[in-house]
Amino acid sequence: MDILARIQAASITAPCLAPQHHHKHLQQLCFPMSTGHHFSCFYMHQNHFPVAMPGHPCRIPSGSIRCQSGAVEAPEMQDVKFSKSMLSFDMGKDRLSKVPASQIRNFSIIAHIDHGKSTLADKLLQVTGTVSDREMKEQFLDNMDLERERGITIKLQAARMRYVAKDGEPYCLNLIDTPGHVDFSYEVSRSLAACEGALLVVDASQGVEAQTLANVYLALENNLEIIPVLNKIDLPGADPERVRNEIEEIVGLDCSEAIFCSAKEGIGIQEILESIVAKVPPPKDTSMNPLRALIFDSYYDPYRGVIVYFRVVDGSIKIHDKIQFMASGKEYEVDELGVLSPGQMQVNELFAGEVGYLAASIRSVADARVGDTITSSANKAGMALSGYQEAVPMVFCGLFPVDADQFGELREALEKLQLNDAALKYEPESSSAMGFGFRCGFLGLLHMEIVQERLEREYGLNLITTAPSVVYRVQCADNTVVECSNPCELPEPGKRVWIEEPFVNIEMITPKEYIGTLMELAQERRGEFKEMKYITESRASVIYILPLAEMVGDFFDQLKSRSKGYASMEYSLSGYRKSDLVRLDILINGEPMDPLAAIVHKDKAFAVGRALTQKLKELIPRQMFKIPIQVTIGTRVIASESISAMRKDVLAKCYGGDISRKKKLLKKQAEGKKRMKSVGRVEVPQDAFMAVLRLEKEVV
């Protein structure tokens, strides 16, 4: 999948978290405030980071159905509007018919990346006749094109299947998808909350991984019935017995009835369906109560407004009902109501236990956030469903337009993006070197990349991005605590007593041969060893406490590459701790470069300083004079380099036919200069700003 599709896929899935009063917050966030403190407040309220799935902010969430990138395990059963009519005429009707709650089974599939979640989901749809064999292929292709062309992701949110079990009864099975990226773990928990059961899919050759565990715990928290499934048993390396024991040992699940299956070969699919019918409890029939429906996903459709995916928990919902979102307090009238099978098929009414979607001309996903409860305006429920959370930005960076005139456009673009991405936070910021821009908060690094890319590509903005940072707490001499995510705002050394930074608990699950190298990695990243246990003879779980700042870099990439891809990881926020941190200032040609200032640990200052000067030397193009680059702590120079003067930059030929082309070239060069920021007489390209982000790699 190309980057754009990936961006769209992920951005649409960005979770929508907000407290009841979020709207007020949001408004404040959008307008000038004194400093960046506000984000930090959200951050502080967050006692623990919601259990997350392994995966790294920079990675494609390839384990999820929605963002599947591989052609083999492609999301073949995704929703395609084109085939909607055909589906509903041919075979959709029986799926739409009303089923008593006792015949409904709501479940999701939890698995580690590449353990076969999408293939299994595909197979289930095929076997139940929800999607024909022929459509599988076509739909997949169509979807990819649509994603690219229309800039939206049509993803499998949920699929309603009709299955006639061995007992002769027809059942309605609802498969609810879960997103697959650590940035969006809150969404996973909401999807799980919409189910009564879950298939725990484990690769019969790979065994339990970090994400498996994290998901199982999430599922257990939501009281789901878990059905263990050992997938890929057809593979030569499969050892289902061993893996079954592993699950029993590590997860503590009874695996005596674990199903051996191969989704690819279609082995065990029938058993899985039977097992869902038999083991997953039916939803409670509470259709007489006032309406309560849990939103587990939503996305913005430019024609119909926000499309909300929900599970009816209590009561029923009808088309043209007046509904209210309990967290945002907004009221709407349902314009369209339907189920996903997997295409959208309209129905008139949905009852407790059922899963469906609605459109109500909702203007922004912020009004219908994941986790929010839908109730009826006429007959309001007393209490919202529990589990709703505020989106907490974890990573911050400054976004500045290269051209100061684009500030207004940037603001508009951010407003538009927020329509579909309630997790995006921003507030105006100004810097002496960069002019006016925004300090933006993101769920993680992937989220940040996505937003930057979209601003640049879709809105044609030229942006300069500062290095991402976390929120530091500074104890000042005057007994105040300053929160700061911007190195430039760090109080002077004389004014501060200590600095605290956020730490995460990180669990890495790895084959034993990589234990050493991963511990080395964690150690390099200022990790503090907590615990190690062998989960089986050959695999261990290693737990560290690590500064979040060390993780926002390339930690996950390193983990993967150093373990040849075998290790997995999971993290959660553990709180703030004092650290011996210093601010590195970068001087180019003697001029300090505020946006490149970085907060690093004292022990690493020299290595980082050196790496930074080298990187800058590499990235700042030669100019007409020699340029010294220095890194300082206070006034002490800890590293320096210099860029020699440019020798030659000349167009050999310029005759009649060349003039337009050469002029374009020179104008482009001039544009490039505009993209650069002048530091004194030196022009520094945007890449140099990102050097700070990458510097950790260099240090290793």
Partner: protein, 597 residues
Amino acid sequence: MKRCVVELTSYSTYHVSRTYCKQNRCVPLSQKMYPDMRTCFIEISYQVRTNTVSLKYADKRHPCWPFQTGCPTSGFLNLQKRRIVAFSCSCQRPGGEAEKHKQPLRLRTDDVFPGNNELHAQRLERSNANVHNSFVSAIGPNGGRDEQTVAGLHNDDVHAGNGLPTSAYVHLPFCKRRCFYCDFAIVAIGQRNDANSTNIDSTMGSYVTTLCKEITSTLSQLPQASPLKTLFFGGGTPSLLPPQYLSRIVDTLDQHCGFQCDAEISMEMDPGTFDKQTLKQFLGLGVNRVSLGVQSFNEDFLKACGRSHGLQDVYEALDIITGLNVSNWSLDLISSLPHQTLEHWEECLREAIGLSPAHVSVYDLQIEEGTKFGVWYKPGHHPLPDEDKSASFYRLASSLLREAGYEHYEISNYAKPGFQCRHNMVYWKNQPYYGFGLGATSYFNGKRFSRPRKLKGYADFVELCINQSSDNFSANEEYLSFYSNTVESVEDRVCDTIMLSLRLASGLNLNELSKNFGHELRVHICKSFLPFINSGHAVAVDSKFKTVPPDTFSTALSEQSASKVLKDVIFIRLTDPDGFLLSNEIISSLFTDLPIK
């Protein structure tokens, strides 16, 4: 140099002189009739009875007459030809009165090319006196007028892009093969042999037909095309074109706009593509400047570039050129070739200097996308020289060639005094020019337009041009889409002016700049130049060709009101070689600073 005389014999002194005086540059003769103006003597007579003009060619050194084979010394011109028509009409008018003036009219070349001979002398003197060598060197063959410009008086080049062109570029795209570095619009035809000769001729023939149609269609739409001062046959390899085809092109141009008597007609030629007879015929058609694509004096480098010729061909070509006494010839060289060392390059330059061409073009190899070199090599990486080495090649060329008496009048061009390429000067002075042929670019009526680069596309385009002149609505639409480019904006014109003029040793003419774009821009640009003047990459020059010291310049700028010093700075030019070497950096900085959005 001999003072040469053109003698025009006419029955009507009055009318001839009036035609001449009124248009000031219009001599009722076509350039192509006398290959070398300096040695010819021509007699024109008009015969009322036959309504024809007869011309006598009186130079024994070149006893050839291009219109008729067998080299008679007189011939007849068809009166349809525009220049002659003008002449003959005026003669016809006063009946018998013309008979009275049988005195032949004598014109000195001084009258034909005002001040030309004196100028040579003047220029030499000045460069000997060592006053801003490179600056003075940039004063073209029409030095007299440039001087007027310097003094801020009159200059008819000021309104660049306006007015009708007096220069034309004609693209002749055929090449034996494509060189590895080349991304021009060319048509590779292979080696000519018995088997493909007919094919080649028909391809060339139909191309020339199309080309002539384009010329006709373009020029006949204009109210009155001015006679050409310069014509450049570029390519491709124009020397591959059989002379009879070239003759058709020259004829067509002559018919529709004609040539000024001192017109420069350049032709690019490649070694190994012409023999003595062919060149003689080209010269007979009026070609008076040859640009020889030598590229390197090293067999291995020639091979490595994918050139169609070897070193032997180079020397044979040189023998032919010198054998025919072509004095105005240029030699092209490429530096920064793969594996080239400073020693190789010096050898190559010395060889070139030894051959004493009137003009040398030295091009730093540019790696273009889509070429073989583009696939094989990455600029700045082995085997290509790195930036520092490539810069040293440039410096070496500049110092060796200047030592040898060549003026470094443009970034990549060197000429002996008086031998700058007048056609190319038109580009750099941002003056209008026609472009004819495949991929050719024209600049007139303030528009730059590039023709299609594929034969088919070009033929379609010409077809549209022709239909456009008739009243065909749909063709008109299409034609407009071809010409959809609009008149260059002010910003573009400023950029063009800066970019082009800084390529020249003379630099940017500030008087012209303020005249065309306002005084504020002048001050603005001066400010943008300040860091480069301080760093020695640019120099400010006053009306007496004296360098304005950087201190004086910056003080003048810092004063609120534009001081006298600033007014006195007439030119800003880049230094050679430091400023030239970083010209892109400097020009793009100036662009960045431009106040125009």
